[in-house]
Symmetry: C2
Subunit: 446 residues, 2 copies
């Protein structure tokens, strides 16, 4: 979820400056405004009209090449031939629902459960991360007998009514559920507790106590371990451990939303939560799982899931169909055979080093942090006050766009560049990205 205010700003800017757009672009934006729901928002004041993708690159209708530093859906690379081939082949054979027997769902489940902690031994498939989180919250309620869900301050977990009600990132227009409680984001750039783990655990306990006082029984804590919408907050590894102990001590479950950090993205581990040495009760996934084919999943401990499945039916028509499973299997195979996890770790470390050089050079780069190829690049007015500089971040993404570098912003202040390229990202791309940032910052933050 890109910070709502940023998108709104961009759209209103575009509306005011529509005349400046090239006629081909204007034609498309006008048509969108006319026939799509008003919820549709475009990136950039001068939107990008894409026609082609390959690996970490995208091309627009004019033939201009872009470096994609944003999309984790095309997780192993845009139009990866292994996924195209797997989907095309399976579509020619059979695509139907899971009330008939088929090997693909079983083969994939065995492959993916081999990557999770042993306690996580059951799978259910759906089509989107929202659907996975919606079901996960319902399971948390069944298992705990409670309704209270804790999320972080700027968390985003989905588009359904239930998940929207646990997504403060959607802003004030979308009310949080009365049973949702919010803890501060683990922003250890600004907050400097002596023990980050204990501090975060204490914040969780405070919200559980508040629930008790309001006769809300605690059901669980839902978080993506990289805290993407909160501004990309991966460190220090392990700080979640104490919080998860508090969650369990209070009878709740931990739902690890791996839509963002999962599938080798964070480099050190296949799953984001593993960087913290914790075992979730439920893992949810989505975006990167099928490299663009809509497939998502919920993996859970048997006893946790049984509390729901024993009495509530759940059937997702498209979920786990042979084509979705073929796509997911192809993605997993490429990640494993090409060691994209190791690649993400190495490339991420190289990129981080280069970005930290920029931090040394420009006072407005307040912090650079990341895990593998998931990096937050935080813009501030000055390193002393650490005051978020959203205007600069917005200008910066527009300047990058003009240099063919696609990314966007995150965080409660909309001032953190979210750098999250397809895992096909290579060392040579670092030059393009860092060179582009350097040129833009020279002008914007002299």
């Amino acid at each position: 979820m890109t910070t709502r205010s940023t998108i709104m700003d961009t759209n209103s800017f575009r509306a005011e400056h529509a005349d400046a757009l090239r006629p081909e672009i204007r034609q498309l934006t006008d048509k969108r405004d006319r026939i799509l729901g008003e919820s549709y928002r475009l990136f950039y004041r001068n939107p990008v009209h894409l026609v082609k993708g390959k690996g970490q690159y995208l091309w627009d209708a004019e033939g201009r090449k872009y470096l994609d530093v944003y999309n984790n859906v095309a997780s192993i690379g845009h139009c990866h031939p292994a996924v195209v081939e797997a989907v095309s082949q399976q579509m020619q054979q059979l695509n139907t629902h899971t009330r008939y027997l088929h090997e693909n769902i079983l083969n994939y489940t065995e492959s993916i459960l081999a990557t999770t902690p042993a306690e996580i031994d059951r799978a259910i498939y759906m089509c989107t991360g929202s659907e996975a989180n919606d079901l996960a919250i319902r399971v948390a309620k069944s298992f705990s007998g409670g309704t209270g869900i804790i999320v972080t301050q700027e968390a985003y977990h989905g588009t359904s009514e239930l998940t929207s009600g646990a997504s403060p990132a959607l802003g004030s227009g979308q009310a949080l559920a009365p049973t949702t409680r919010v803890v501060p984001a683990p922003d250890f750039y600004r907050l400097t507790p002596s023990d980050p783990g204990q501090w975060f655990a204490h914040e969780i306990q405070k919200q559980i106590d508040d629930m008790k006082q309001n006769d809300i029984k605690f059901a669980g804590f839902l978080a993506d371990s990289i805290f993407s919408s909160d501004g990309v907050l991966p460190n220090p590894p392990g700080f979640l451990k104490a919080a998860i102990e508090v969650v369990h001590k209070n009878g709740g479950i931990f739902i690890a939303d791996e839509v963002q950090p999962g599938f080798a993205r964070t480099g050190d581990t296949f799953w984001g939560f593993a960087r913290h040495g914790v075992v979730p009760d439920i893992i949810t996934t989505g975006k990167p799982m099928g490299n663009g084919i809509p497939v998502s999943a919920l993996f859970a401990k048997s006893d946790v899931l049984a509390s729901f499945s024993d009495h509530i039916p759940y059937f997702n028509t498209f979920g786990g169909n042979p084509v979705s499973m073929a796509a997911a299997q192809a993605v997993l195979k490429v990640i494993q055979e090409e060691n994209l996890q190791g690649h993400s770790r190495v490339m991420g470390a190289l990129l981080l080093t280069e970005l930290r050089r920029l931090q040394q050079k420009y006072r407005c780069v307040g912090d650079v942090r990341g895990a593998g190829l998931f990096i937050g690049f935080e813009l501030v007015t000055d390193p002393e006050s650490k005051q978020p500089n959203k205007a600069l971040a917005l200008d910066l993404i527009e300047r990058l766009r003009d240099q063919g570098i696609l990314t966007s912003v995150a965080g409660p202040y909309g001032n953190v560049l979210k750098l999250r390229p397809p895992l096909a990202f290579q060392a040579a791309d670092i030059d393009w990205l860092v060179g582009g940032l350097d040129r833009a910052l020279q002008q914007l933050c002299p």
Copy 2:
């Protein structure tokens, strides 16, 4: 949604008779039981292990051919080459989200909005019918300022928390939302009001009045116009009209859930609601839209949608991506160019005639009704009492399975065969289906 009790029965039977299964099948069912969530249920005491599909036919691992009389997902036929080609081509070009410009979403929206009433002029895309209905209910709440939703007695509208709470078909394990009210199904085989339309309108009004008494403001009426889960209740055409007038008079909206009747299925019209001469405020779709690719949509009147979009962000990562839109466009093109709507009308009428011959022949066939290739075939103990005969229906679908005919049951009593083949269904297939039914009924209902 196949009636839950039927599925449960089948699964417990299978568990008890697991030793009778062929070893290859047993291996697959055992693995499912071990690693998938317990919610997963199989059709048939002797489950079918499918490996191939083409048009209206499916093949199992033994090479046995089946006639598919159940799946509306493979709406224009299993593995339709036009959809395979469109998806393969687009996957090789580009697949990304809607925050960049792309023609596919705009071209498809223009094509599909040309099939809806002129008042319906906006589109939003997601991946499943559940997601479409979840959003539709949220829009109904925004527009009306209320929370009360009316559905029919055995309605099924989705798997999310919000839509499950409006899906009595899920059974007693899944509580309805406190703001959901239920009207009787328009079962005019059993109920014989002098004016069906007025009767149904009155039932709606009664529930709105009940809401008022309980301080619940009415938001809308959500129904699929073929009342699939209620047992396939298409007639008389036009009976919904008075009810929709009541809905509007009371400030609510009508959400036409077209996951079941939409996309030319009912023969007379492209959309199911059109058989009733009504204009919905929102149309939701799903299953048949992409012939198996997970794509769904919400089409709405501008002013209704704006009440939501003005203040609540909605972004569905996979929704409306170029590949989904290519699949949907291919499906629509085939329906239109091959006149599958006319085909469905003609084939449906032929099939209905033949099924009525069976009704004449067997006293346990209580009623046969349908619209296009969506037919309910109702089993009773005798035509006088009209007492539902669920046991017979269950035996019948098992006997049909043994003759290579795949279908399932619907309705509150689980006694209605839901006959809903891919639109590729041909006259020759009628012989297979009706012959199979005849043979089975000779034994089961002599």
